[in-house]
């Protein structure tokens, strides 16, 4: 029975695989806001949904979308983001990104920060990201 359950668990784990690549955080001062960027790929055969992000770096963490309206740029909180099988969610400048609001410490170039992305099927995916000054 235990063997059967292990196989079943393994099946569900491999069926809900998310990979996170090219992750980075933009440098910013203590108390300021910044953003986390990454390529989030759904390697499973089922759609998955990013519904929450946490990080010890900031007081508040939200997924935002940059938008353009009447020649002006703004941001709004994005809802849950579905990633279809085999597709990649690009968290990138001028698009969807993870907002790190109210940094608890200064984030300078080459420091490493931790961010956890939560998916409906894959669960929590913890990643470490390098701090950069710009797109490098």
């Amino acid at each position: 029975m235990l063997y059967f359950l292990s196989i079943l668990l393994l099946f569900f784990q491999t069926g809900a695989k998310i990979t996170v690549e090219n992750q980075w955080i933009r440098s910013a001062g203590k108390g300021m806001n910044t953003a986390f960027f990454a390529d989030v790929k759904n390697m499973s055969s089922n759609a998955d949904t990013l519904y929450k992000v946490t990080s010890p770096l900031a007081k508040l963490v939200q997924v935002h979308e940059t938008f353009e309206e009447n020649g002006m740029m703004g941001m709004r909180e994005a809802g849950n983001l579905e990633i279809k099988p085999g597709e990649t969610l690009k968290l990138k400048p001028r698009s969807f990104h993870v907002m790190l609001i109210g940094l608890k410490k200064e984030l300078k170039r080459d420091q490493i920060g931790e961010v956890t992305l939560y998916f409906k099927h894959a669960g929590a995916v913890k990643v470490k990201a390098r701090v950069k000054n710009k797109i490098e």
């Binding site: 001062g29 300021m32 002006m72 740029m73 703004g74 790190l100 000054n133």
Partner: protein, 194 residues
């Protein structure tokens, strides 16, 4: 022969005009601004005789303003590489209540900005409002939310722009701030310098 010269001068005039379709004098505004070192200047009068690239930002902006700041940095580096002199860079905060000189300094330090000819400015709300009107910049604060420790969080929807000002303090061209064509801007700066 006289007709030929007339044609040549006309062509030259049309060619210069098409390079810079805009020409709007902003030198009639002179607002006191304070830079990252708490030094007060009259803007834009302080830059009379220089080619100036201006952006309007707020330091709590996580996406667009850092890109604009970085793009001004790229232009600054390219200007230096090309040995073009008499060019200055200014980023003016439209969130002056939060963006104090020391915060602007921190913002510059973290990004390794070369402040030799690049200044970040704050000032009184009414002075900045006057300059925003002159440069056709709009910034609208969104709803305020709060962190767990009751700190207010708000962002702006704002114009995304870098503005090129000539030596006589005329706006000559505007570019998107967060996405630039570096070669186009360098060519424009060279043309103004000629």
């Amino acid at each position: 022969m006289r007709h030929f010269f007339f044609l040549l001068i006309s062509l030259l005039f049309v060619s210069c005009q098409s390079k810079f379709p805009e020409k709007e004098f902003v030198g009639n505004r002179s607002e006191v601004l304070v830079n990252q070192d708490s030094i007060a200047i009259n803007f834009p009068k302080h830059y009379s005789g220089k080619i100036l690239l201006v952006s309007f930002i707020f330091t709590n902006c996580p996406d667009i303003c850092p890109l604009t700041t970085h793009n001004l940095q790229l232009i600054q580096q390219k200007v230096k590489e090309n040995k073009i002199e008499n060019v200055a860079f200014a980023a003016i905060s439209f969130d002056p209540e939060r963006d104090t000189p020391s915060l602007l300094k921190q913002y510059a330090d973290i990004r390794n900005l070369d402040l030799s000819n690049y200044n970040l400015f704050t000032g009184k709300r009414e002075n900045i409002k006057s300059l925003m009107e002159a440069f056709h910049i709009v910034a609208i604060a969104g709803d305020t939310t709060f962190t767990d420790d009751k700190e207010p969080v708000y962002f702006f929807t704002h114009t995304d722009r870098i503005t090129l000002v000539d030596q006589e303090q005329n706006i000559r061209k505007s570019y998107r701030g967060s996405e630039i064509n570096l070669e186009e801007i360098i060519t424009d700066i060279k043309n103004l310098g000629d």
